[in-house]
């Protein structure tokens, strides 16, 4: 009996800790967004974050999309050949990338690159008292550090997803004409004909949501980093794990929402 109660208590504790954590993150997010309406806005920090998150993530997101598009073309061709539907390769590659793989893989790559870097940077600032120093210099750390990063990621990741969509389709195109004997004009024709505006837009909306999640997790875990190198290391790891899990979970919820509408 005691064993069962102990087991149930441990589940209860885990659920309560999870709910408390969600509550803290929600409060952190609302605090961040509340600064949008209150000046000053630190444009320099925002532009710096835009370059760090957007421009410098372009190679990794672009390469991921390019190779994924190529691999996807091969897989769809192999599957489609089983029921003589090889011609669907261009349209399935385009739809799969724009609606699902582009935003999800792009989001996960940005999570690995950006959430870790933000958490490590802000965590180090916290343990070296730089966050306290900002406060004593009449500068709100949420306004100066968090808001510019969250806003930059929310705007930059959809752009990255858009570029990733193009490169992914190009990857499929290169494999299609080089390896699967598609004609270039036919491939492009099939891609454009079956692709709808909503396919692209829904992926970009997902990208914005994932960008928000990535930067928010980086900032949240950085701001709540423990002491010393171990504390910063733990914050970095937690930021990447939380951002990745939330990206996958919110991807399902957004897909369900788009599917229902």
């Amino acid at each position: 009996m005691n064993l069962i109660l102990g087991f149930l208590a441990s589940i209860g504790r885990t659920v309560l800790a999870g709910l408390a954590s969600m509550g803290r993150i929600t409060l952190f997010a609302s605090d961040t967004l509340s600064h949008l309406a209150r000046p000053p806005f630190y444009w320099r920090e925002f532009l710096h974050a835009l370059v760090q998150i957007g421009w410098l993530s372009l190679p990794v997101v672009g390469m991921t999309a390019l190779f994924t598009g190529g691999a996807l073309a091969l897989q769809i061709y192999a599957g489609g050949a089983r029921f003589n539907a090889e011609t669907v390769v261009p349209s399935i590659v385009a739809i799969g990338l724009t609606r699902e793989l582009g935003p999800v893989l792009g989001g996960l790559m940005v999570a690995a690159r950006v959430a870790s870097s933000i958490a490590a940077e802000i965590g180090t600032m916290k343990v070296t008292e730089q966050i306290d120093a900002l406060t004593t210099l009449s500068t709100n750390p949420m306004k100066y550090l968090t808001l510019p990063r969250v806003l930059a990621a929310t705007l930059a990741v959809p752009v990255l997803v858009g570029v990733g969509d193009v490169l992914g389709i190009m990857g499929g195109f290169l494999v299609g004409i080089g390896r699967l004997d598609f004609g270039a004009a036919t491939y492009l024709h099939n891609t454009i004909d079956f692709l709808e505006t909503w396919d692209v837009v829904s992926g970009l909306i997902k990208g914005a949501a994932f960008g928000f999640i990535v930067a928010l997790m980086g900032c949240y875990y950085g701001m709540n980093s423990g002491r010393g190198a171990q504390g910063v290391g733990r914050a970095t790891k937690s930021a990447v794990v939380a951002a990745s899990v939330l990206i996958l979970a919110s991807n399902y919820l957004l897909t369900e929402l788009f599917f229902a509408s």
């Binding site: 730089q130 306290d132 120093a133 900002l134 009449s138």
Partner: protein
Amino acid sequence: MIELHNVHKAFGSNRVLRGVNLTIPSATSLVIIGGSGTGKSVALKCILGLVRPDSGTITLDGQDVTRGDRDAFLARFGMLFQGGALFDSLPVWQNVAFRLLRGSLKRPLSEAREIAIEKLRRVGLKPDVADKFPAELSGGMQKRVGLARAIAAEPEIIFFDEPTTGLDPIMAGVINDLIREIVTEMGATAMTITHDMTSVRAIADNVAMLHDGVIKWTGPVSEMDHSGDPYLDQFIHGRAEGPIEAVR
């Protein structure tokens, strides 16, 4: 005048401040001494609002520090952190002029840079340091940049958290003189935390000894050597034997 009345602060089960009562008159220099981990930095951070006390009141010129315009309140303060706390991503001069580049004290870029270089000179650093990044400086130089930042906007009240730790004796003397000068010339109120008894004698008008979360002794620096307080005596003479346990 800054007044702390019955201030308590605990971190989990660790009760750091257990009823601190302290008064710092305007335009005077108070030095807080005490063993490591006795809550000196916590007391200082409570005044600035960086740490929220569990109970008790802290007032500045009679006003509760937790109420009123926070930006206006903080604009009256300068703070030198123990490790310098310089912003890695900014060059030295922008660190020093941080407050002058944004907010209510904003100045034109060239003027802010000039002020920064002048403050750097005041703490014994050459102008060529201005364009370097904090990571390119030694620990002692970083500390002096931190000091220059603390005084850049000429605040009314300046807190120094171990200002001479990590500096050679000559530079420590320069910094002690500078702190003294700031109090006498600028009429600033200074509150310093240090373990360095040479600094205490050079900087302080008044001394407060914090131990076990309470102020054990406070009085003018001139009375420190014959206070008759066993805790203070042990601390200022650095004796291993006495009421303060060496292992804490």
